[in-house]
Amino acid sequence: MGEPVRVVVGVDVGNSTTEACLAEVAGDRADRVDRLASSLTPTTGVKGTPANTAGAVTAVRRALEAAGRPSAVPDTVLLNEATPVISGLAMETISETIITESTMIGHNPDTPGGEGIGVGTTVALAELGGQDGPVVVVVGAGADFDDVAERVNRAVADGVDVTAAVLHGDDAVLVVNRLTRRIPVVDEVSAVDRVPLGMLAAVEVAAPGRTIRTLSDSYGLASTFDLDSDQTRQVSPVARALAGNRSAVVVRTPAGDVTDRRIPVGTLTVTGSGRSLDVGVDEGAEAIMEAIRRVAPLTDVHGEAGTHVGGMLAAVRDTMTDVTGQPSSEIAIRDVLAVDTLVPTTVQGGLAGEVARENAVALAAMVRTSRSRMQAVADEIAAQLGCEVLIGGVEGEVAVRGALTTPGTAVPIAIVDMGGGSTDAALLDRDGRVSAVHVAGAGELVTKLVDSELGLEDRDAAESVKRHPLAKVESFFHVRHEDGTVQFFDAPLPPHVFARVVTVTPEGLVPVPVRTTLEAVRTVRREAKRRVFVVNTLRALAQVAPQGSLRLLGSVVLLGGSALDFEIPAMVADALAPHGVVCGIGNVHGTEGPRNAVAAGLVDVHAGLAEPVGAP
């Protein structure tokens, strides 16, 4: 007779979820592990802190319920040695466009009127009549399109040379359709009252589907306004700013200008290898990442007070202080990921609410500490459940053991766990040694990039774009999915999705509040995932790979929630393929998918099925 069968629960407290694996272990035979059930519940509190107890107890109870033994008391609960990881996210806009003296109107109204170019002196509608030279009519708020057309027609009949018009309302087509003379008209200029009057101005409207040719060209501007070479040099930024528009207005004012300037947003001080480097955040992501490479391994980062990035870094430090009680001076930022992005921003000095896509830098930072407080969690669980609680196995290491139960894997094996705040990698080499790393930037950063680049200002919508494939609702009875396939429905789709780009969620189609095409949304989504998950996977694996060479990794197993994403695993696998790495989604014990690797690994190690990690 061997020892009696014992009930063991492995519990993995992760950043966002707490997982449990319930098993029966026969004391005498190492191969006698019967896994009975697993469970998943949100982690309570920051990982590695006493607040985890509630979630851990819930996970154990759930697993017992799932196994049909709700009132059983386990013999042993196994906890991972979880350490707190706190991450933060911030974004700085680093460029801005400023128009001075209302020199130009460069927005794209949906429906400008007429076609061609008109040059003349700006005159308010009320003053129209009796002018000698060519005039551009400026129409303020509240004017009715019928009245405007009638007044312009009367002036033209009286001999005034009206060459173009600028309107406040969305009336350009309506006015043009009622004019006796065909002129270009730009509308929806919300601050039309700030258009300088009595100045020479040019209005250009291109045919539908075309862009303007004259005002977007420096020499075109020179010819239009009769400029010398110095003046031409001066107005060339205006031409550049107008390129790509279907309509534009340029007013020649004494000192009018368009400038595109960098916004100073402070410096980052990165420290490592015994030296410190300062890098301006406005230099962009490439420069920041280069500075971090130069000081590798990074030991700390500081930002300038009063900037978003500085505030974020301080907040991350403060949170860690609150969680662990360590003084903030002892807490170091261990990794930073900077990503360049574009943010739609209203142009300063614009008359029509012009929006320019300004450059921005998004920054994710991460701090971790070795000071785990899992013993407090263990004591509390023991008190609540009335059983033995053991802490064993550093995360990452146990996860590798769990991942190794995926059919088809072999040592050396690396895992990548893409979470919400950080991306974690670990490697088990042929000698049984495990090395692990956490890098900043994961799901939350993707959501933020999607949100800002699409101008959604709606985190929920961005989250939905990140998680689900897209489709375009082409009629009440069919949608075209992003892969081009068409799906038909027997019952009409709900009206609020009609003609819209939608995400295909388990709850049905959800409209994405954008007016761009499906392709544009898809590009933003995939680009964001590539810049975060692909970049971070490569970055993290390079840190654990032997001699930093991905070629020596062998197999890479993807774990965690993001491994369930519909496209991230394929994107990561594609990026790793050139390095000769076999990459796939974990399937712990051939049944659990990418979930439960640590919890199951804890049980296996405890039962002696797997080598205790770290054994010589």
């Binding site: 949906d110 429906t111 509240g142 004017a143 009715d144 399109f145 019928d146 009245d147 309302g169 969305d170 009336d171 350009a172 087509v173 309506l174 359709n177 082409e474 009629s475 009440f476 009875f477 009409p492 709900p494 009206p495 609020h496 009609f498 003609a499 819209r500 780009v501 007016r515």
Partner: protein, 193 residues
């Protein structure tokens, strides 16, 4: 947006013939209720029917769309009026409107009681809103995705307008003529200075 109206305009609906199915794929049908334009001349908040039609048509025209207007006599039910209009519309898109101003954007494949956009609170609809409704109708007809017209809400509309709405509803029902088929009309808007 053009909201102010300096001059007074009147509306007359010149009958062209029976309302028939349109063929132009981008057209929008404006379907009017039995009392619209005649005998009533303004909405519950005194927006002249001439202005309602003018703004709807302007919204459609500004988007490069085309419109046909029909008048329905056999029902005063807004959903039925709009759905009937949608079925006659070359694009399948119609704007249905009651004399008191209540408006709906409909599409022929939808269930009658469903809609694309509904503007149930007639007291909150002004010229600017009618322009946006016309603009959105044209965009739907062209297969584009307009931003839905922002809906307004006012809890105190009930004490002020509920009874007048009921009265106008009853009057509209009085104008139902079961014997009279829907006709296509040309809205003739005349300025009275």
């Amino acid at each position: 947006m053009t909201a102010a109206v300096d001059s007074v305009r009147t509306l007359s609906l010149r009958e062209i013939g029976p309302a028939e199915r349109g063929t132009r794929p981008e057209e929008v049908v404006i379907a009017l209720s039995p009392a619209f334009g005649d005998p009533f001349t303004k909405t519950i908040v005194d927006v002249p029917h001439a202005e309602v039609i003018r703004q709807l048509l302007a919204g459609i025209e500004e988007q490069g769309g085309v419109a046909r207007t029909i008048k329905v006599y056999r029902t005063a039910d807004l959903a039925a009026i709009a759905h009937y209009g949608a079925k006659l519309s070359g694009s399948g898109i119609a704007v249905g409107i009651l004399a008191r101003g209540t408006t709906v954007l409909h599409q022929r494949d939808l269930a009658r009681l469903s809609n694309l956009e509904l503007f149930p609170q007639a007291p909150l609809l002004d010229a600017e809103v009618f322009r946006m409704i016309g603009s959105n109708a044209a965009q739907y007809a062209q297969g584009r995705s307009p931003r839905p017209v922002p809906t307004r809400n006012d809890q105190m509309a009930r004490p002020r307008w509920q009874a007048k709405a009921a009265l106008l509803h009853l009057k509209e029902f009085e104008c139902i003529d079961h014997a009279r088929a829907a006709v296509e009309v040309e809205p003739v808007i005349t300025r009275v200075d």
